[in-house]
């Protein structure tokens, strides 16, 4: 099994790191500043945990389905799931919530219920995001709002584990969800994750891409006053600042999209317990995918306790969502850089690939 040198050569130096943060702080040799992840000193070991858990060092999609859910997926677009809904927070909706505030509400609930000892979240603001280890519902709600850069949030997970926290929870982008699952399920050479399988909750976000730290420069140059919120609706990126609203086209941001995101197959956090995204039609609501039993139970509980209001997912939107997810996958699989098994490129086994093409064709372009 490869180690730090390979992580550096295959992932970091190839600009394939998505800044999930999982390798950061595993040891004193990998550090981060302003979302950059770097090996700062050679550790000298040939095999390493850092390589094993990196979401970009390769994953077999089917094998991961089996490891996490014990079964294969039927839907190649959205992965294993038990149900799809729209939802929004009703009690104590986080004031900075991106959409329906479901992510924050569930994180808070998991903390209150003792389902997790702490939640690994992304706090701060659009220009200055940072990892937060929330231990209370209020701390969790304070992290609401999407930061569109690749924030190495999981760095703080490592610290939490070292400090002896068991069953921590995570809210993360799909790559971060994968990193958490790899840590749970890989045979690891190091002792860093000696409580395998012990995540209390893995809540995944939808994510089609994240932005590079260079985006900060772009933003500071364009927006001089305080930024309140950023969103990327279908019409294009919007920044709400104190003095007004700034709008761009997705094309303006494209130069800042992380290279690793272009090779990513997972836009809906396919290995999360529960995945949350936008609805693309009503900013007051979220799309919610219950995937694992744990995710399903949490959603039920939230409903029972009146934490969330949950509705049926509009039937007419379902194909749109699936098409968006499938389009991304097909785009990746057809890219020249995509060479299955190479760093940054997940492996889709032949039977999955076949289904994928059928389902994509079935949906119509």
């Amino acid at each position: 099994m490869p180690g730090q040198k390979d992580l550096k050569n295959d992932v970091l130096d190839q600009d394939l790191c998505s800044a999930c943060g999982m390798c950061v702080g595993l040891c004193p040799y990998i550090k981060t500043a302003r979302d950059r992840v770097r090996v700062i000193y050679p550790c000298g070991l040939a095999e390493g945990t850092c390589y094993s858990i990196c979401p970009k060092t390769g994953v077999d999609v089917r094998a991961m389905d089996l490891a996490v859910f014990g079964r294969e997926r039927e839907d190649q677009a959205l992965g294993v799931m038990q149900g799809i809904y729209i939802a929004r927070a009703v009690q104590d909706r986080a004031s900075g919530a991106q959409y329906g505030g479901v992510a924050s509400a569930l994180a808070a609930l998991a903390l209150e219920q003792g389902m997790v000892s702490a939640m690994v979240l992304t706090g701060g603001d659009v220009l200055n995001p940072y990892p937060v280890l929330a231990r209370s519902a209020d701390e969790a709600r304070a992290c609401a709002g999407s930061k569109y850069t690749g924030v190495p949030t999981l760095e703080i997970l490592n610290r939490a584990i070292r400090e002896g926290l068991d069953h921590p929870g995570v809210v993360g982008r799909p790559c971060q969800v994968l990193a958490a699952r790899k840590a749970e399920h890989s045979p690891l050479p190091g002792t860093q994750f000696n409580q395998a399988g012990s995540f209390g909750l893995v809540l995944g976000l939808f994510c089609f891409w994240a932005l590079d730290p260079k985006f900060y420069q772009f933003l500071t140059n364009k927006v001089k006053d305080k930024i309140i919120k950023m969103d990327i609706p279908v019409e294009g990126p919007v920044i709400e600042a104190e003095s007004g609203t700034y709008r761009w086209q997705v094309e303006d941001l494209r130069p800042y999209i992380k290279k690793s995101c272009n090779l990513c197959l997972d836009s809906t956090s396919e290995w999360a317990d529960i995945a949350v995204g936008s609805t693309e039609y009503d900013p007051a609501w979220n799309t919610v995918l219950a995937r694992s039993d744990k995710g399903r139970e949490l959603l039920d509980l939230a409903l029972r306790l009146n934490v969330l209001e949950v509705g049926e997912y509009p039937a007419e939107r379902f194909p749109l969502l699936r098409r968006a997810a499938l389009n991304k996958k097909m785009r990746v699989l057809k890219m020249q850089e995509y060479q299955p098994g190479r760093p940054g490129c997940p492996v889709v086994p032949p039977e999955y690939q076949k289904q994928l093409e059928e389902q994509w064709g079935g949906i119509g372009q």
């Binding site: 595993l26 040891c27 004193p28 550090k31 500043a33 770097r38 000298g44 190091g190 860093q192």
Partner: protein, 641 residues
């Protein structure tokens, strides 16, 4: 005896002193009224000693901001008729050179002695500059003590010579004399001090070419004086055909070498206590009888060249002489002629080769044998920052921030403890290292190369004492020209390298009087450069601070402030730091012996037997930085407070 010995009022008594204390005693016997210095090895302790006695002897002593200022303030005292002493290392004379060359023209009034500590072998310096060549260019007389006793005698003589010539006199003292200890026969302490006078109409100026002529006359007088001075002496047979001309401690080495070769009866040794101007008449009288002359001096062939020139001028009187020295490679240590120190053994080997006298290295004394034996078993002690040194934490932060930044930023440095940034313990960071403050100037230069497409970020590190000493002009230059670089002040709140002397950022002066502190923040703010202050022991925050500032443009300063570890624990109970072997994962992934192998505080050691890290508690200064870096929290700090 130390300080008690220096001020002991019992003429004729012998007390044990170091060379530096002996110089201080000589100054007291000469009635010094004013002393100034910038700390530098090997002469750093002279002023410290005088400062302790300042009140008792009614003298003024100060650690000046740099050597040039030190020389100026001492000259001022001399202009008023006081006797004054200024002390510096060879590098310091370079700093003071501009004023020194002017002062040599204007001359002085009260006796003024410039003690210059040369460091042959560069034991505690970055170079082994021989300051005599500079002194010759300056037209200043140079006296060289050969022993601890002479350090005192020469210093006292130097005052009276200076006063009679109205010209500063240099006492050039090398490390082996400064740091040696020996019995010193005390002379009388000077009676109570003079009163300064500088009246309207008094002029001490450098203008007019006539003064150059006067300089030459003064030197001629000095040469005459030297001819009769007790500081030069001869040891050996009359009319010796073979002669060794020696200066400084090489005189002692020469006597010993001849003894070992059994040549003491046949070879004469002429010791020059005055090496500039040469005591020409004296020298000629010995050259007349000599057919072979060997030079024993450190470092450069200074006496050698000048005596050979003298002989050439007087070829018809001195006849045919064969000269042996550094120029023909006959007198050379292991590193080659004119490089490094001499010692009795090196000299004996050289003389044996010259005269064909058989020489075998004397058997080692028993303890030496043991030592050598041990030497082969013990690893070489590397040049390393002390345990707990805040500079290590600072260097680690700088290194990490540069790696995170990823633009291949470069790091410049200069002189101080932090010079060790060139070695492993400073993670090999420093890429230039020249003289006090040079890093800032070089950074200011590199910081303007963006117009040629040079886009690497530049960091220069400078110590707190160096900051005051020499960094300011370059910082002003940088601000004025908008040079882009980051200056990191490694502020350990003292002049650590030379023994913790105070500087303008401190609350007291050399003599312990309260000072009007000049905080560096105020200076930097005044120059108009943005700055931040951070504790390097908080490594995470320090990395962040360095990284953030790296992203900025223009000149900027980051002060990494934390007291020198040695000063911090002095007289206090240290925190106890130890490794919990249960938690330490040592070799395995997730650490890979980070503390002992990478961070490498000398107290972080690896216990191969148990496969765990350990703290060498005798060495550890209890800073706790390694504990914050250990990935397993395996290092425990028991705080004493």
């Amino acid at each position: 005896m130390t300080i008690m010995g220096v001020c002991c009022d019992k003429p004729g008594v012998k007390v044990a002193l170091t060379g530096n204390e002996s110089i201080a005693r000589g100054a007291l016997e000469a009635g010094v009224g004013y002393a100034s210095s910038y700390p530098g090895s090997p002469t750093a302790e002279v002023l410290g000693t005088l400062a302790k006695l300042a009140r008792q002897f009614n003298l003024y002593a100060e650690w000046s901001i740099n050597e040039k200022v030190a020389m100026e303030v001492a000259a001022a005292a001399s202009f008023t008729g006081l006797r004054s002493l200024v002390i510096m290392k060879a590098d310091g004379l370079n700093v003071a050179l501009d004023f020194a060359s002017a002062l040599a023209i204007s001359g002085c009034r009260g006796g003024m002695v410039i003690v210059v500590g040369d460091d042959p072998g560069a034991h505690s310096s970055v170079r082994e500059e021989d300051s005599r060549n500079l002194c010759k260019a300056l037209h200043l007389p140079v006296l060289e003590p050969a022993s601890v006793q002479e350090a005192k005698d020469v210093t006292r003589e130097a005052f009276s010579l200076s006063e009679s010539l109205q010209l500063p006199v240099v006492v050039r003292c090398v490390t082996r004399v400064c740091h040696a200890s020996g019995d010193v026969l005390l002379g009388e302490l000077a009676p109570a001090g003079r009163r300064p006078a500088f009246n309207q109409g008094d002029r001490v100026i450098t203008f007019s070419i006539k003064l150059h002529a006067l300089q030459e006359q003064k030197l001629a007088r000095a040469s005459d004086w030297a001819g009769n001075s007790r500081l030069n002496s001869y040891h050996g047979p009359g009319d010796a055909g073979r002669l060794v001309i020696a200066s400084g401690p090489c005189y002692m080495y020469a006597l010993e070498a001849l003894e070992m070769l059994g040549l003491s009866e046949q070879v004469g040794v002429l010791k020059l206590g005055v090496t500039w101007p040469l005591p020409e008449k004296l020298l000629l009288s010995y050259l007349k009888t000599a057919a072979e002359v060997v030079f024993a001096e450190e470092v450069e062939p200074f006496v050698e060249d000048n005596v050979m020139a003298l002989a050439a001028r007087h070829w018809d009187e001195v006849g045919k002489i064969k000269f042996y020295g550094k120029r023909n490679g006959q007198v050379a240590g292991p590193n080659g002629p004119g490089i490094g120190e001499l010692d009795p053994d090196v000299l004996a080997q050289s003389l044996s080769a010259i005269w064909g006298t058989p020489y075998t290295k004397p058997a080692l004394p028993a303890h030496q044998e043991i030592f050598d034996l041990l030497g082969t078993k013990m690893p070489d002690r590397e040049l390393a920052l002390c345990a707990g040194c805040p500079h290590r934490a600072s260097f680690w932060s700088i290194r990490t921030a540069l790696e995170l930044d990823g633009r291949g930023g470069i790091v410049l440095g200069d002189i101080g403890c932090y010079t060790l940034g060139i070695a492993r313990t400073g993670y090999y960071l420093l890429q230039t290292m020249h003289c006090m403050g040079a890093g800032v100037g070089i950074a200011s230069g590199l910081g303007k190369l963006d117009c040629f497409g040079f886009d690497k970020p530049v960091i220069t590190v400078v110590g707190d004492s160096t900051f005051y000493h020499a960094a300011l002009p370059a910082l002003v230059n940088a601000r004025y020209h908008r040079a882009s670089f980051m200056c990191v002040v490694l502020d350990n709140e003292t002049t650590a390298m030379t023994g913790h002397q105070p500087h303008p950022g401190r609350e007291t002066t050399a003599t312990g009087e309260p000072a009007d502190t000049v905080p560096m923040e105020e200076i930097i703010r005044g120059i108009g450069i943005p700055y931040a202050v951070q504790d390097p022991y908080d490594v995470e925050a320090a990395i962040e601070a360095v990284y953030r500032m790296l992203q900025q443009q223009g000149p900027r300063v980051l002060i990494l402030r934390r007291a020198c570890a040695l000063a911090a624990v002095k007289g206090k109970q240290k925190n106890r730091v130890y490794v919990d072997p249960e938690k330490c994962i040592g070799d395995s992934c997730g650490c890979s012996r980070f503390c002992s192998k990478v961070f490498a505080c000398p107290a972080n050691i690896w216990d191969a037997e148990s496969g765990k890290a350990r703290i060498d508690e005798a060495v550890c200064n209890g800073c706790g930085v390694c504990a914050t870096l250990c990935p397993q929290q395996a290092i425990v700090v028991e705080r004493t407070v």
